[in-house]
């Protein structure tokens, strides 16, 4: 066995609503590429943030190269030799490659930045990575793949011994991905340790020496690629039983309420379509970046549609603005509650009624009616807030989500597009939201539920559509689908098996 460089013991991180990482123990060896996989919300990002100094652990210890690690900031991490390559790159587009590599550590001569020395050093680092980018190029002119290389060069320039990469290939083409893998193999030979976070199973198996699976913030297992197939890994990522978390399905009607055909959105959706029937709950699965949010936003009039058609109850509708969709009875609950779904510094009443103010008076708003309406929604959804005049920023995630839902229920929609309705919500509120979705469907509304949590799709939906690269690649019957089926379709492991 090789010597460990990083040892994590009983690491825990609590957030107000959830325990993101739960007594996690893990060992990473010097010079290996170690894959970390798990569903969205498994605790991968939180773990990486703690390792790179962006978050502090609530409890537990990290030992790096034999020394206990107490990081207070990203620059602390860099000092001991840990560098993180984020999914969103941290480069300054207007500066040159060399300037970016040595940003904050400029080489100076007599107090002036020594451009020449920096460029020579940058060139050496880039050559080492097998790249022929000129150090003088402005970063904004580089492709994403080249920018990633600049980030890696930057990490190497501060002598990083541990490189953490968060889904680096999500934004790369096939060819660029292969080039990146070559670079990573080379780094491994130079003795750099790499933690590679991803949920694309084929590439993880191909690249990594060992793979650790996380689930619900806990350690599940560390395996070697030859010990576990992709299916085994998928099973490890999702394996759990939350059977009675979900209400029993009730039968849905036959009337088609929403019909979308051949929808195109530039760069995201390439000819996706779906049908929603009265009382039906349809799940939409897919990895982050599969275009599912953009598809729903196009139906809600929030994104420009390049092609395709949408009909409500058989009649074609034009959806040029969000208000058009609201008038057609379509409501879209955003996955991004804090910046899109709610006005955090407005209160419960103001948020609840904002999308439907027309209903509260022709000229002057009836403030009593606004209040009563917010009150009744809060009661129905079981929103726990001290006063209705409380700013929603002071509510917990679950209660915020209920206010966001109430805003859309107030418009009396017939079609609800719910994007990650249970994200960042604790388990109790989750169950209430499931029950609510079930009731809304039973009342005759058609519901599209976008989610990265496969158990909730399987537990709640009549049908599950899977999206990949802007297309619907398969449809599964809700009660017969397995997480493996969904994962296979979403990650493109197996061809569609249409139910």
């Amino acid at each position: 066995m090789r010597e460990p460089i990083l040892t994590i013991a009983d690491l825990t991180r609590d957030y107000p609503a959830v325990r993101a990482v739960d007594r996690l123990s893990l060992t990473i060896n010097r010079g290996e590429v170690h894959g970390i996989i798990g569903e969205n919300g498994a605790g991968k990002s939180t773990l990486m943030k703690m390792l790179s100094g962006l978050e502090r652990p609530t409890a537990g210890s990290i030992t790096f190269a034999g020394q206990p690690l107490h990081l207070r900031s990203a620059s602390d991490a860099m000092r001991v030799g840990i560098a993180m390559i984020h999914q969103e790159l941290n480069l300054i587009g207007e500066l040159s490659v060399a300037d970016n590599i040595f940003l904050g550590r400029e080489r100076t001569t007599l107090g002036l930045v020594d451009r020449g020395a920096a460029e020579t050093a940058a060139l050496k680092l880039l050559n080492q990575l097998g790249s022929n980018i000129s150090p003088r190029t402005r970063v904004s002119r580089l492709s994403i793949a080249d920018q990633q290389l600049v980030e890696i060069a930057k990490a190497l320039s501060c002598e990083a011994r541990l490189l953490i990469m968060d889904e680096p290939t999500a934004v790369l083409s096939e060819r660029e991905t292969l080039a990146l893998f070559r670079v990573m193999n080379q780094l491994r030979l130079q003795g750099v340790t790499i933690i590679y976070v991803s949920h694309l199973l084929p590439e993880v198996r191909r690249l990594c020496d060992r793979i650790t699976v996380l689930r619900d913030g806990r350690f599940v297992k560390t395996v070697e690629p030859r010990e576990a197939s992709e299916s085994d890994l998928a099973q490890l990522m999702v394996g759990r039983d939350l059977g009675d978390l979900y209400p029993a399905r009730s039968p849905h009607g036959a009337e088609k309420v929403l019909e979308a055909r051949n929808v195109f959105v530039d760069g995201f959706v390439r000819g996706a379509g779906l049908d929603l029937h009265r009382g039906e709950i349809v799940g939409l699965a897919g990895l982050v970046g599969s275009g599912r949010t953009e598809f729903a936003e196009a139906i809600a009039g929030l994104r420009r549609r390049r092609g395709g058609s949408v009909s409500v109850k058989g009649a074609p509708v034009r959806l040029r603005r969000p208000i058009d969709a609201v008038r057609c009875g379509i409501a879209y609950l955003s996955e991004d509650r804090k910046t899109r779904g709610l006005h955090l510094d407005l209160n419960v009443v103001e948020n609840t009624t904002l999308a439907n103010l027309r209903a509260y008076g022709r000229y002057l708003l009836d403030r009593g009616a606004l209040r009563r309406s917010a009150q009744s929604h809060a009661q129905r959804l079981g929103t726990r807030c001290g006063r209705l005049s409380q700013r929603v920023s002071s509510l917990s995630g679950g209660n915020q989500q209920k206010v966001a839902l109430a805003k859309w229920l107030d418009t009396r929609p017939e079609v609800l597009l719910l994007d990650e309705p249970t994200r960042g919500v604790d388990i109790g509120a989750k169950q209430e939201i499931y029950q609510l979705i079930h009731n809304l469907a039973a009342e005759g509304r058609a519901i599209l539920m976008i989610s990265s949590e496969m158990p909730e799709l399987i537990g709640l939906c009549h049908r599950i559509l899977v999206m990949r690269q802007g297309r619907i690649v398969g449809a599964l019957a809700g009660e017969r689908a397995t997480e493996g089926d969904i994962m296979h379709l979403a990650a493109g492991v197996r061809e569609a098996r249409v139910a």
Binding site: D14, P16, A17, G301, L302, R321, P322, I323, A325, V326, Y332, S334, T339, R340, G341, L342, H343, L344, D345, L346, E350, L354, A355, L357, R358, Y360, G361, Y363, L364, L365, R367, G386, R387, Q390, R391, S393, S394, L395, S396, K407
Partner: protein
């Protein structure tokens, strides 16, 4: 438990800063007025009802604009063009009035000598009505121009209205050839903003004198606009939308609000206010100085809004706070005047008051 601590309602942590955030503007106004009423150098004259009436009268012009500015700032914008716009609109409305008076007076030509049919006073009256009638729509048009450039042209409000600041001033300078636009009305136009016209108060004894005060038209217009503004902000759909757009534009768009329209209407509204203020301002001196009328109005209006507790980044604010802000600025001028402090010091004192007001009213970081 961590969870409970984070969710404690704000009311449970009541403190002075909350109180100041809600009522700081009014508190500052009362404090300042009390100071002036007690301070030896100002005590004698400050409390004279005529002095107080004058303070409100003199600051009503800025006040009207500041009401519009409150909407623009709450919506997340800014308008630097109002001072120049006021000069331009004032000049144009005087030109329109002179045209009407001139036309009706012309003894020959295409137009009949209406003056001799309807009398000189009537023709002057028509001119004044015309001036008052053209100013507000011109204001709305100029405000909409700003709004269209900002929303459809996607240019930052600061830049667009900085352009207006330079551009509108330049137009009126060109029209007046660098001088002033003089009114052709003898006395009627002046009466609009004169301290000796308006709604009379019953005569009363003050000290040894009998005062016959008027609540002047600018004061009445200012108060009406402020009341309508406060109602519009807190009791109409438009008001809610302005707050929503300023608080979080993206979330407003996702709530199916037409954010471009909301912002455009806010700029049209400040244009309307500026138009009204412009014609009152023109009547005050019976002329418009191309280079000095409305100078620095934009900054005084913004200062009043900020002192009133409206958040500079948008999303939160109140009209009554702005009214307090306008009065605070007016009292400072008055106080220094009464205390015989050099006018050169006014700027420094204002600066101190603005900073203090904002310091007291800043909300705690979330």
């Amino acid at each position: 438990m961590i969870q409970d601590k984070a969710n404690t309602p704000a009311a449970a942590r009541f403190g002075w800063s909350d109180l100041f955030e809600a009522w700081g503007g009014l508190a500052a106004l009362i404090g300042l007025a009390a100071f002036c009423a007690l301070f030896p150098a100002t005590r004698e004259h400050f409390l004279n009802p005529e002095n107080i009436r004058n303070i409100i009268h003199q600051n009503a012009f800025i006040g009207i604009i500041a009401v519009g500015m409150t909407f623009v700032i709450i919506s997340g914008g800014i308008d630097l063009s109002v001072g120049s716009m006021a000069a331009l609109i004032g000049g144009l409305s005087i030109l329109a009035m002179n045209q009407v008076i001139g036309l009706t007076e012309s003894p020959v030509g295409v137009y009949p000598p209406i003056k001799y049919l309807i009398g000189a006073n009537v023709s002057e009256g028509l001119g004044v009505v015309c001036a008052c009638a053209v100013a507000p729509p011109i204001g709305v048009a100029l405000g909409l121009l700003n709004g269209v450039l900002i929303t459809k042209g996607r240019i930052a409000p600061f830049i667009v209205t900085l352009g207006g600041f330079a551009g509108y001033r330049s137009i009126i300078l060109a029209i007046a050839d660098g001088g002033e636009v003089r009114s052709g009305s003898f006395s009627l136009f002046e009466a609009v903003s004169s301290p000796r016209h308006g709604i009379p108060l019953p005569a009363f004894e003050f000290g040894e004198r009998t005062l016959e005060l008027y609540i002047t038209w600018p004061i009445i217009v200012f108060l009406l606009i402020a009341i309508v503004g406060q109602v519009a902000l807190s009791h109409t759909r438009f008001g809610r939308y302005v707050i929503a757009v300023g608080s979080n534009e993206t979330a407003a768009r996702y709530s199916a609000i037409n954010i471009d329209r909301v912002r455009m209407v806010a700029y049209a509204l400040i244009g309307l206010c500026t138009g009204v203020a412009a014609v009152l301002l023109a009547s005050r001196l019976n002329s418009v100085g191309a280079s000095n009328t409305g100078n620095l109005f934009e900054l005084d209006a913004i200062a009043a809004v900020v002192i009133g507790g409206t958040r500079m980044s948008g999303g939160r604010g109140r009209i009554w706070g702005t009214v307090c802000g306008v009065l605070i600025l007016g009292i400072i001028d008055n106080m220094l005047l009464l205390a015989e402090v050099s006018a050169y010091w006014q700027g420094l004192v204002k600066a101190g008051v603005i900073l203090l007001a904002v310091l007291l009213q800043r909300s705690r970081p979330a």
